[in-house]
């Protein structure tokens, strides 16, 4: 007898998967067929996307709110609106006031008598090598006080 004939005739053991078969089938079913899992995932993704879209649309429609949120989150930049005063509405004689830029000195530090000074600004003019100008305006928190000279 040859080994191949022996292998053909030998009684082979039968390996049965047993409970493992049920376990694996359950795992596969859970992964590929359990609609509950699939639905909940889709639901989470869908809800998140919809919420983001609503928030984006809201921020586009209400930019002031977006800016308020931005200010609240990122810093103390205050929103400042300028409600401009038109001098023509008042009966004021402007002939005593300069209408061109003059050198400021403590003596001619004139103010408008009918309104209070709110803020002071310093304006710096810079020039680069190509003679290009940069105007730099900075806010002076406290009003300038005239210096006392001895």
């Amino acid at each position: 007898m040859h080994i191949d004939k022996y292998l053909c005739n030998v009684e082979k053991p039968e390996f049965l998967p047993g409970p493992f078969s049920v376990r694996l089938k359950y795992e596969l079913k859970q992964k590929y067929f359990d609609k509950k899992n699939g639905l909940s995932l889709h639901y989470i993704y869908g809800t998140t996307l919809a919420s983001l879209l609503v928030i984006c649309a809201f921020l586009v429609a209400k930019p002031h709110t977006a800016q308020s949120i931005n200010n609240f989150v990122f810093g103390d930049t205050k929103e400042e609106t300028l409600d401009m005063l038109l001098l023509s509405d008042h009966d004021i004689d402007l002939s005593n006031y300069p209408n061109s830029i003059r050198t400021v000195s403590s003596e001619n530090n004139s103010t408008l008598p009918f309104i209070e000074e709110d803020k002071s600004y310093l304006i710096h003019k810079f020039k680069d090598q190509n003679n290009k100008t940069l105007i730099y305006i900075s806010e002076v928190k406290k009003s300038l006080q005239p210096k006392t000279l001895y």
Binding site: M1, V10, E11, Y32
Partner: protein
């Protein structure tokens, strides 16, 4: 919808990713075969369970990639199993000795489950096949235990039939060489009786 043998298997497999009944039909049909094949190859129930799990998860994931050409679905599954066994063998080369020890434990367990067959034959198969190389064990397992034709083995392994015949011939010679002659004669006598 209930699937039976009468329904075209091609259609069932196409449905198996979406339809649980189709999947169930395929699973019940092929899972025991694949499990048996992997058991013959690795001789360890725990390892076999791990490999079979990977095989079926991979099969389900890549079911859409399966094309009905020359290879039947069973061969496709066997090929995945075959590749997984090779991967496992590469990883576990160092643990060959441990596997052989576990194998003895597994033999006992399986024997208790299957009282009807000859214990000596059973031990003979496992103990001596475990000493062969992966490649040799593969071809002997598929040809003699799984009763696969050379054409089927060729579809699974991707080797041509004439190469497989040569490989099988060499594997059998090696197996014959590693079995002590008196054990071999005794085994032959058992079969003849």
């Amino acid at each position: 919808m209930r699937y039976s043998e009468a329904i075209d298997e091609k259609e069932v497999i196409l449905q198996a990713k979406k339809d649980y009944q189709a999947f169930d039909y395929i699973y019940e049909k092929y899972m025991p075969q694949i499990f048996q094949y992997v058991m013959y190859r690795v001789f360890n129930r725990e390892v076999a369970e791990d490999i079979v799990s990977v095989v079926f998860f991979k099969a389900m994931k890549n079911l859409h990639l399966f094309k009905w050409r020359k290879i039947p679905f069973s061969a496709w599954l066997y090929r995945i199993a075959f590749n997984e066994i090779c991967n496992h063998a590469k990883k576990e080369k160092k643990q060959e000795k441990i596997r052989r020890n576990i194998m003895k434990e597994d033999i006992k367990t399986t024997y208790e489950m299957n009282h009807h067959y000859n214990e000596k034959s059973f031990k003979f198969i496992h103990e001596y096949l475990a000493k062969l190389s992966t490649k040799d064990r593969d071809i002997i397992t598929m040809r003699f235990f799984e009763k696969k034709s050379f054409a089927e083995i060729s579809q699974i392994t991707g080797k041509n039939e004439s190469t497989l015949r040569v490989n099988l011939h060499r594997a059998l010679k090696k197996l014959e060489a590693i079995i002590p002659s008196e054990v071999l004669q005794d085994a032959y006598r058992q079969i003849s009786m």
